[in-house]
């Protein structure tokens, strides 16, 4: 409990300080935090349940497209968000049902999820009426629109909204993973057969987790649609799926705070590097990917925890 008391002012200070950054930095941080929500939803799958979800962008992009399509056809802004959550949850629910009730596990899950993401990307790039083809859907309005005299604070207001959403999502996820539900997740991750032998319906649990994770990704996607203001077929596809996996692995799977920090950090890094050398970022991303798999089994969070512990041990001596 006393750790939380220290964390709260820290977060507040970070929030207030980041409000004074320039408009470009605020925009980058906004998208970074949205990707943080996305990475936390991937963490529910991979970090806590050991579901190798290699196509998580499918649900993120599906949510983004759902919001964008609602806006495109009705002109309504806020309504799109619950619709996106429901749509992504439904897609993830159907996929989870087919996958986990067929007793498909491990590498096969990775293949299926990746294939879903690729297929959706190809589909949306050739569907013009709703998805808008290769260009996607453009000029989506910001979520909060201020009157003309407060226009210069618009980005900051939207940033604040995303910041608060991220905190709420983080706290909700913490509640989830520390509940009975979350303990069952860990049990399944470490040994599914044993959990099954104890009488738990593991297929159902995995399918529900997958659906929750999809719903959360859909929420992230809905925010992304409004703050990025463009939703292209790539939002559903291979590269974003790879990126969210890198963020999760780099930050520390199964820690929640790790993927959040990893996503924000790597997104900011990407923007810094892309402005200097435009074409090396993805190469670097691949290298970070391999390094995270090779050397960081608990990500940077695990690394810093280990360093902290050895520091404490040194001080005691």
């Amino acid at each position: 409990m006393n750790r939380k008391i220290f964390q709260l002012p820290l977060v507040l200070v970070a929030f207030v300080l980041s409000m004074f950054l320039g408009p470009f930095a605020v925009a980058v941080l906004t998208i970074g935090l949205i990707f943080g929500i996305f990475a936390m939803s991937e963490d529910l799958c991979w970090g806590y349940n050991g579901i190798p979800n290699f196509g998580h962008a499918a649900y993120f992009g599906f949510g983004a497209f759902a919001t964008a399509i609602v806006w495109k056809f009705t002109g309504l802004v806020w309504v799109g968000i619950p619709i996106a959550i429901v749509a992504s949850a439904a897609l993830a629910g159907v996929m989870g049902f087919f996958t986990f009730y067929s007793e498909i596990r491990g590498t096969y899950v990775a293949l299926i999820t990746l294939a879903v993401s690729l297929a959706l990307q190809m589909y949306s790039s050739q569907e013009y009426k709703y998805f808008g083809g290769q260009t996607g859907i453009t000029s989506i309005p910001l979520l909060i629109q201020l009157p003309r005299d407060l226009m210069s604070y618009e980005l900051q207001a939207n940033y604040a909204l995303v910041f608060i959403s991220t905190i709420v999502v983080y706290l909700l996820c913490c509640r989830l993973v520390n509940s009975k539900f979350g303990f069952l997740s860990r049990a399944i991750k470490s040994n599914e057969h044993r959990a099954k032998a104890l009488g738990y319906d593991t297929s159902k649990h995995l399918a529900i987790t997958f659906m929750l994770s999809g719903a959360l990704a859909g929420f992230g996607g809905a925010l992304y649609a409004h703050f990025n203001r463009i939703v292209a077929p790539e939002t559903l596809g291979f590269l974003l799926s790879a990126q969210v996996f890198v963020w999760t692995c780099f930050g520390g799977p199964g820690t929640l705070i790790g993927p959040l920090v990893g996503a924000v950090f790597l997104h900011v890094l990407q923007n810094i590097i892309s402005t200097i050398y435009s074409r090396v970022w993805l190469l670097l991303l691949g290298i970070i990917f391999v390094i995270s798999v090779f050397f960081l089994d608990q990500g940077i969070v695990g690394l810093s925890r280990r360093l902290w512990r050895s520091l404490l041990a040194l001080m005691r001596i």
Binding site: P52, F98, S102, G106, T107, A110, E127, C249
Partner: protein, 285 residues
């Protein structure tokens, strides 16, 4: 003409797709059966084969390229297996993730080295042949024949030779195989290097038929995924059957629907088959 399609052409095109899938999927399936690692960078090996044809064709004949490309990708496969996947025999899913990173690295390296432009290789057999009264590209017939021959050779090695018997033993029970004096790790390496060489060969043979650019590998890998998923673990005949199913369905869908929608429809078909037969099309029980 059936449903407005020239039926001979439809079936031949289907077999062409099947041949390509076989060349890509055979190596993947065997290594997957052995170690449980699915090499995502396989698609990039394929692209490497295509690039080899594009560039070597200027100096030597096309048929030499077919020999050089597999050698290069076999070397890449050896480096990848020894350098990375070897460390993940106990945790195959991490090896899988690692190859995903390698796939990104290779794609970007191709983009930096060769440029994000389309290359076209020369077709060595630029004429058509009459098949049952249907005029068909001679080169595609050559691809079909090669794919079929490769599969037959593979079945022969897998079922009738000592190496095949050792591979089957290692798939079935690696500890027992090791106890009987089989060097299991050497079998893993052999299978991986062989699969990489086959991918390079597939890429080389595909080179004259496609625009070659860094990201093309990912158009071929999903169908190989489906084939391996439907084929069942480490069963060569299962791979043959499932590649026939996937290839012919994919081709028929491609004839009748726009490409992106056909891909989605194929995925739906595969998922439904998997729900009905989770152990793979060919396996018993």
């Amino acid at each position: 003409m059936v449903f407005g399609f020239p039926i001979v052409g439809l079936i031949l095109d289907g077999f062409y797709v099947v041949s390509i899938i076989l060349l890509v999927a055979l190596g993947l399936a065997i290594y997957f059966g052995l170690v449980g690692v699915f090499n995502i960078a396989h698609g990039e090996f394929l692209v490497m084969g295509s690039y080899m044809v594009v560039f070597l064709q200027q100096y030597v004949g096309f048929w030499w390229c077919l020999a050089v490309a597999p050698a290069i990708t076999a070397l890449m496969g050896l480096v990848l297996e020894r350098g990375m996947i070897r460390h993940f025999y106990a945790k195959p899913i991490l090896g899988f993730i690692g190859t995903w990173g390698v796939s990104l690295i290779l794609q970007q390296s191709y983009g930096l080295v060769f440029g994000n432009v389309y290359y076209f290789a020369k077709n060595p057999l630029p004429f058509t042949v009459l098949v049952f009264g249907f005029s068909y590209s001679a080169y595609q017939l050559f691809v079909i024949a090669t794919g079929g021959l490769a599969f037959l050779a593979f079945v022969f090695v897998f079922l009738k030779t000592g190496l095949g018997a050792r591979i089957r033993a290692a798939i079935h029970n690696p500890q027992m195989a090791a106890a009987l004096g089989i060097n299991v790790e050497r079998i893993y390496v052999t299978a991986f290097v062989f699969g990489s060489a086959l991918a390079g060969f597939g890429g080389a043979i595909l080179g004259p038929m496609i625009p070659v650019f860094p990201y093309i590998g990912f158009y071929y890998v999903p169908q190989a995924f489906y084939t391996v998923m439907l084929g069942g673990l480490g069963q060569v005949l299962g791979i043959g059957i499932s590649s026939l199913v996937v290839g012919q369905i994919a081709n028929t869908l491609n004839y009748s629907l726009p490409a992106g929608i056909a891909q989605t429809a194929l995925l739906v078909v595969v998922i439904v088959i998997m729900r009905v037969r989770p152990q793979g099309i060919w396996s018993r029980g």
